[in-house]
């Protein structure tokens, strides 16, 4: 015995396939999905937040050593990656606008472009990681960071043990971020497939919005990671 007499639902809305039975109307479903995604992003903020907390504490304790370590990662590549992600956020909002205005070709193009930017980001990240590997800056048995001057303090050398903490945080934070980027690429692959099949209309593009929110969040995390990791004491 299923309940189909729901208050406030017209006949056409009742039969729209995307409307789930337990919602009163499409607006409630949209609002719930959006709210749910924002709450999920709140959990992600706290998830990264623990790492930022660790970072802040050690940066305060070992500023000179962190500055020396930060100088050894390529800020131009980091800056380029920031620009790449910013462009990808633009293509995301353009994709949603395309869905809102029934421009299927543009939607698909923007989704593909977004993913290309994402892959570019990961590629640049890979180049950076390789550079660190070659310089023996990856924490572990073969880590070495000898005779690196602390910026602004000529003759003083960074403590390798403290520098190793910087690099641990660098790899964990950027690695976790990259993992989220990979998940984002997976999400957008699925969105691309749905868009290709014509599932999105001006009345229904909720998955695009949800994917977009996630992608923008990943962008925002990087907006903070860039100055904190790459730009400690660059002027010295």
């Amino acid at each position: 015995m299923s309940d189909s007499t729901v208050v406030g639902l017209n006949h056409e809305e009742q039969h729209r396939p995307e409307l789930l039975h337990h919602f009163a109307d499409a607006q409630q479903q949209r609002d719930s999905s959006s709210f749910g995604m924002w709450i999920f992003l709140a959990t992600e903020v706290m998830f990264f937040g623990g790492l930022f907390c660790a970072y802040l504490i050690y940066r305060g304790w070992y500023f000179g050593d962190f500055a020396a370590a930060s100088k050894s990662i390529d800020a131009r590549l980091g800056g380029a990656n920031t620009a790449v992600l910013i462009c990808s956020s633009l293509t995301v909002v353009l994709a949603i606008w395309a869905a809102q205005t029934s421009r299927r070709a543009l939607l698909i193009a923007m989704l593909i472009l977004t993913m290309l930017f994402g892959v570019t980001f990961l590629g640049i990240k890979g180049i950076e990681y390789k550079a660190k590997f070659d310089e023996h800056h990856v924490p572990g048995a073969s880590f070495s960071f000898d005779h690196e001057e602390i910026p602004g303090h000529p003759g003083q050398y960074a403590n390798p043990r403290h520098a190793q903490i910087f690099f641990s945080l660098y790899f964990i934070m950027t690695g976790l971020h990259a993992l989220h980027m990979i998940i984002g690429l997976g999400l957008f692959t699925w969105l691309l497939v749905m868009a290709w099949r014509g599932r999105f209309t001006p009345e229904y593009y909720t998955p695009l919005e949800m994917g977009g929110l996630y992608w923008h969040f990943v962008d925002i995390v990087w907006i903070y990671l860039f100055p904190l990791l790459y730009l400690i004491d660059r002027h010295a």
Partner: protein
């Protein structure tokens, strides 16, 4: 609403239990009520696992010598007891069982906002549980449930990473439950169900969900850091690299203190419902009780370092956290005062749920007050890491949270199962639980005060009497827990069929059949009355009078 006749095999209306048959209909359900029952079975299983470890602990502590198990094994026993009880019983229990079942019913919705995510959260819980079981069966963990560094990252050889990942997965389950509740409570209330008409059970679960959402991710990242440090030997907490072991404790307790409010808030919500019903009165100071739930959730995030007073934090930080820890007691006290005021001039009935609520009132008060003793820096230096702390948190967790859970299970059992449990046995079980509990844990306050450390498997001879009392109490307590299991199961086949509202209680859930249909309400309810309208319910032969505010 049909009432079944009093024969042994009543004619069964279609309801959520009998609508579909087969294992698949249960394992792939999206009905919040079925998911609640899936959780009920799972968490009961883990409760007995955790209880089994407790039994072994208490058996070892019967004698002063360490003669039942070796020291390393004892470390594993209390660790596994803590991990299983905290992460696989206490944190999910009320929200995942009673919350899942009742939140949509109480607000007049057909289901939670995200039924498939609800099912996913159960599967995550099960996966985490299987991982934990595997970890325990292949050697377990010996660091204490708090897995402090650097012992957990650099020295122990036990299965830290596996246990940590199990907790990570279970934590994700917790986050999804909280997310679901918040969206549901905001978006899916029936017309007329304003915030100020919500049952306090809903307010309590809302506050709990906030903590689950904001706190759990921090322990998730902490577990990741510990796992990374153990496996890849990157040093964040390693003092040899200049890392700070206390950083682990800060991150760990940032979640684990609010976690204890995850455990107690839902129970407080249950107590509000029970006390109102069995005093036949609106809860005194409804707004205060509602907002105190939110206050507990917020304040709970401000006090975590009171677990670290002797760990090496600065004395100024200790002062700040001590002060904040006193503050966090205030909203809890507000609740206790309001519950007491509700009882005043109420028409008290002593059914089993009410017995559990009374037990909660007394035991939670003792537990809470002893928390204030611990918040005091001077006292804490003396009793920290002794059995005083163990007694304090068991008074809250077992005397508080678990009593509330049992009270709630009895209160809503007719709604969940469509059967009445045997009241005589239930009252007896409540009494046995209360006596057993106090016999188990009150001696531990004394033990801690006179100096017995926690997590020790041997102790000086002069502590034996108290330890024997405690173990005796634990046995009694075990009997008290077994009884409801037995008669609840019995009632599912032989219990008297329950009417829709056996307690004549207020609340939308009681307007559905016992047990409810799959979609809860035939027509969407429109709420025009305040919560706890017991005066109207008890007024004979009167229509429901809508209260216009």
């Amino acid at each position: 609403m049909s009432m079944a006749t009093a024969t042994v095999q009543p004619v069964e209306r279609e309801n959520y239990l009998n609508k579909h048959y087969g294992v698949g209909s249960w394992l792939f359900t999206t009905d919040h009520k079925r998911i609640a029952l899936l959780y009920l079975i799972s968490i009961t299983f883990f409760f007995f696992i955790g209880g089994f470890f407790a039994l072994l602990i208490r058996l070892e502590l019967l004698t002063p010598a360490g003669d039942l198990v070796q020291a390393d094994s004892y470390n594993k026993l209390f660790t596994m007891h803590g991990m299983v009880m905290v992460f696989f019983f206490l944190i999910p229990s009320i929200p995942a069982v009673l919350g899942n079942f009742l939140v949509p019913l109480m607000i007049g919705a057909k289901d939670l906002a995200f039924p498939r995510i609800n099912l996913l959260s159960w599967y995550l819980y099960i996966i985490g549980g299987i991982m934990m079981m595997h970890c325990m069966l292949t050697g377990g963990v010996d660091t204490g449930w708090t897995f402090y560094t650097p012992f957990s990252t650099a020295f122990t050889n036990t299965k830290i990473v596996e246990a940590g990942l199990a907790i990570f997965v279970a934590g994700f389950s917790s986050i999804l439950t909280g997310l679901n509740f918040v969206v549901t409570i905001h978006r899916m209330r029936a017309p007329g169900m304003t915030w100020s008409r919500l049952p306090l059970f809903i307010w309590a679960h809302y506050a709990t969900s906030i903590i689950q959402i904001l706190g759990t991710p921090v322990i998730a990242i902490t577990i990741v850091l510990v796992a990374v440090e153990r496996t890849l030997h990157l040093g964040i907490f390693d003092p040899k690299l200049g890392g700070d072991p206390l950083l682990f404790q800060h991150l760990f307790w940032f979640y684990s203190h609010p976690a204890v409010y995850i455990m107690i808030l839902p129970s407080m919500g249950i107590v509000s419902e029970i006390i109102a019903c069995f005093s036949r009165k609106r809860i005194f100071g409804y707004s205060f009780v509602a907002f105190s739930s939110i206050a507990i959730a917020v304040f709970g995030f401000l006090v975590w370092a009171h677990h670290m007073f002797v760990a090496g934090i600065s004395v100024y930080a200790a002062l700040i956290f001590s002060l904040l820890s006193y503050a966090v007691a205030v909203p809890s006290a507000v609740k206790v005062f309001n519950w007491t005021a509700t009882l005043y001039k109420g028409s008290i009935r002593y059914d089993a749920p009410m017995l559990y609520a009374f037990g909660f009132l007394g035991l939670f008060t003792i537990g809470g007050l002893t928390g204030l003793f611990l918040a005091c820096l001077g006292i804490d230096v003396h009793v920290t890491d002794t059995y005083f702390v163990v007694a304090h948190f068991h008074y809250i967790m077992v005397g508080g949270a678990l009593m509330g859970y049992l009270g709630g299970m009895h209160f809503w059992w007719p709604k969940i199962s469509g059967r009445l449990y045997p009241e005589g046995w239930a009252r007896l079980a409540a009494l046995i639980v209360f006596i057993g509990f106090n016999l188990t844990f009150f001696p531990q306050f004394i033990l801690g005060y006179v100096g017995m450390p926690r997590r020790y498997y041997q102790y000086p001879q002069e502590f034996q009497v108290l330890n024997v009392l405690s173990t005796a109490g634990a046995t009694v307590l075990g009997v008290g827990y077994l009884l409801p299991m037995i008669y609840f199961l019995w009632s599912m086949r032989y219990g008297r069929p329950a009417p829709d509202n056996p307690w004549n209680a207020a609340g939308l859930e009681w307007k559905t059949p016992s047990p409810p249909t799959t979609f809860n309400f035939e027509t969407e309810p429109v709420v025009t009355w305040e919560a706890y309208n017991y005066e109207e319910l008890d007024a004979p032969h009167k229509e429901e009078v809508p209260v216009v505010r």
